[in-house]
Amino acid sequence: MSPAPLLSVKDLRVGFATEGGLLQAVDGVSFELRPGEVLAIVGESGSGKSVTAQTIMGLTRSKNSRIEGSVRLSDQELIEAGDAELRRVRGDRIGMVFQDPMTSFNPVYRLSAQISEAIRTHRGDVSKGEARARAVELFDAVGIPDAERRVDDYPHEFSGGMRQRAMIAMALALDPLVLIADEPTTALDVTIQAQILRLLEDLNRKHDLATILITHDLGVVAEVADRVLVMYAGKVVEEGTLDEIFYDPQHPYTWGLLGSLTRLDRPRPKRLPQISGAPPSLLDLPDGCSFRPRCPHEFGRCTEVPALEARLADAPSHCDRCWLTSEQKREKRQVAGQIGLEAPA
């Protein structure tokens, strides 16, 4: 049996009151995360992937936001939790790594000071000296050379990749159970990206850290994820294991995403398969399936919203929101030639 989930999100809905009306950024997202698992949430801008992550951390609470549903960390409900209680969880039990390591540190304090502050805020009994020693240890663990000396540097003295390592070190300072990484490698060069991905994988394996990886890059997903959620216009449109999503994708949006990738290990196609149109405005969503206006396979039933459910007899955890039958899907994705991947033998 699989272990009990560490984090479970149920029917999470996040809306923001705007001048144009209620903007439903996240519309009924559910998932479970187990120790040692890497869950990737994939989507384009406006899909709700970052808002989902920020809501788990309680970062979207404000006067004009409407948050419903449930986020449970072990036995603790986070949506209902008070601000003080949430502050204890944040940083301590859930660590977060942001996209832009340039703006995530305070430029006028030494890194050692910023990391010890994070430690001492949560652990009052740790002395300054101990906290600094812990920072050095963490810098070592994330592969920053000459940690003893560099821990006293200012953020601007670090390169982008090193700064992202420092960010990860800070997120790990209190041994969190869950790490949320929002586009952690998007701002980095590919050679540095590869190093950071290896690091995340290592930490995940060594510490049984449960990780939520938010990204738009399916190449990154293929390298590190165990399970994948594909989001579109605030909803999960497909969910499955890494291999299910890549080798037996069920939703036309997933086909489009996979199809539009350029692959260095394949002969190049004459033309890149593309998804036409643009994502809808969240203030003016179409009736039924949100992907309908861009979908080449639309038919009568698509004006009803399809539920996210398992539609394949042999894969109970592989869910999608598309009315096509599985035979139709298999046929259409072949005909469209959008999938360059063969099913595994």
Binding site: A222, S260, R263, L264, D265, R268, R271, A278, L341
Partner: protein, 280 residues
């Protein structure tokens, strides 16, 4: 014999001085941003310039277009030497070489309407005015996949992909021969990237454009380019046909770069990592 290339760059160098001292500026060192690069692009073809941040690829573009003055070297456009030409001497040549920028949010004036943005080069170069100008701009907008009604809108009313189309329409307004695109898709969502790349491909076929396509994403560069030059520390370390560079890289840095690109295929990605683990 083959005809002369549209653009021929030889030993192009751009060094930026590092100065020190309070009253007297003393040059203490130089940043060798572009350190002697040479390449040429035949008419109607695409050269992809790949490299990581700081490799000098954007500086190279700007030095080719004479937006910054090269330290030394030669840039020949249709056989004519343009390195060192004054702004005035460059002006008539500007309409033949245009640029598409990375950030569609920063490269369009937020206070101007789309019609003005796209029509401005036509007006400045005295190519069209009045109702003729309007008609040409509307045709351009339609050609890049926008609607002629967009003429009176402001940039903030458009998505990133649409803004990039506006930038492309502006670059094409003067029917240039050479288009330099500096990271034109890296700020866009994946599903929109493919649209813009296909659009650039179509426009090249239709107007016989020559592209210098600069990007850090080697997958995208390989798709659109005939030849690829890999830049590292201001130098071109490898140069060849797109497939040759991607499939049989000769240079160590190119190999490193290719090995770091994630493969969007879980099984192959696992195999590669196991292979690397066993080797290392």
């Amino acid at each position: 014999m083959s005809e002369a290339p549209l653009l021929e760059v030889t030993d192009l160098v751009k060094h930026f001085p590092i100065k020190s001292g309070i009253l007297i500026d003393r040059e203490v060192d130089q940043v060798r941003a572009v350190d002697g690069i040479s390449f040429s692009i035949p008419r109607g073809q695409t050269l992809g310039l790949v490299g990581e941040s700081g490799s000098g690829k954007s500086t190279a573009c700007r030095a080719v277009l004479q937006l910054i003055k090269p330290t030394s070297g030669s840039v020949r456009f249709e056989g004519q030497e343009i390195a060192g030409l004054s702004r005035r001497q460059m002006r008539p040549l500007r309409r033949q070489m245009q640029m598409i920028f990375q950030d569609p949010y920063a490269s369009l004036n937020p206070r101007k309407r789309v019609g003005q943005i796209v029509g401005d080069p036509l007006k400045r170069q005295k190519v069209a005015s009045g109702s003729d100008l309007r008609k040409r701009v509307q045709e351009l907008l339609e050609r890049v996949g926008l609607a002629s009604e967009h003429y009176n809108r402001f940039p903030h009313e458009f998505s990133g992909g649409q803004r990039q189309r506006i930038g492309i329409a502006r670059a094409l307004a003067l029917q240039p021969k050479l288009v330099i695109a500096d990271e034109p898709v890296s700020a866009l969502d994946v599903s929109i990237q493919a649209q813009i790349i296909n659009l650039l491909d179509d426009l090249q076929d239709e107007f016989g454009l020559t592209y210098l396509f600069v990007a850090h994403d080697i997958g995208v560069v390989r798709h659109i380019s005939d030849r690829i030059a890999v830049m590292h520390n201001g130098k071109i370390v490898e140069h060849g046909t797109a497939d040759q560079v991607c499939e049989h890289p000769a240079d160590d840095y190119t190999k490193q770069l290719l090995a770091a690109v994630p493969i969007p295929d879980p099984r192959e990605s696992r195999e590669r990592r196991q292979g690397a683990g066993a080797a290392g």
